[in-house]
Amino acid sequence: MSKKVLIIDDEQDVRDYVSSLLNNNGFETKTSDDGVAGFDTLQQFKPDLVILDIIMPNQSGVGFYRSLRKSDTFKDTPVIVLSGANRYKDFFSTDHRTLPQPQDFIEKPFATEDLLEKVNSHIQ
């Protein structure tokens, strides 16, 4: 059975590109364009890994991530943050809470082999 990846990014090009890349490498994918809709899709699709953008309308990737980690069902789902700059890691600062950091960060633009390597290494 194919491993499942949920891609949450407000940019259509990114969703299409990453989805196509992963599909061509044997993964089943679903996409969402924001954190709120993404959580609904998460609950229906039950992915093995989430690729998550940070800067999105409605709910930022940080808000989605916190809800994910609070959920009994999805708290251990690996997350790779895909963002425009590594500095966005600061948004996941855990100095005031006990949430674990996302499994990995990858900066846009990215090399396809880097993304694939990270997905393969983190997916359960």
Partner: protein
Amino acid sequence: MNKIFEQLLKDLDDNDPHIRFAAARTVGELGEKGDEIKSALFGALKDSHWFVRLSVLQTIRELKFNEDEILEYITPLLKDVHEDVREYAVLTIGDFNEKAAPAANALAEVLFDPVWYVRATTAKILGKIGKGARNSIDRLKKCMCNDNEVDVCISAARSLAKICCCEDLEVISSLEKIKIDPKKPIELQNIAEESLQKITNQKL
């Protein structure tokens, strides 16, 4: 001011929000807090993009300006439209512990925030303020008893232990009820018991 900071100040005003974001973080990394930089940063708190406001807040927090300036400029961000900005404003104010008491009333309003992690962080910060947040006791008690997110209830219970004393009988009564309520999560019951012990040993 050297050329680097001149450029950073221009970048803080750039048309591209991602450049403004990067400029704000770079200022934080360089650690410069002169008057011109300070003025530009506080001005950038009104940026139209939430992630720029958040990055400016992070930089302001790192640069550790004095509490009067922080409370004046950051307190309005407790009503920001974006939840992550509101939460970070709470955290920044909380760095001053008991000296943040002038912001306690404004923080108490944030206990009704629609986003759970903003409420949870606010409840925690009111505890850091301590006795100076006594006006928030009633709202913290309501959070502890009625919030539908256990993290908020736990934060509120812990903070009440730092703010209340043996004369706060309503809080004591609420904690006693939670302690024995089988419908409450075990973790909350345990925290209620700990908080009860601390409060009953504290005088006003």
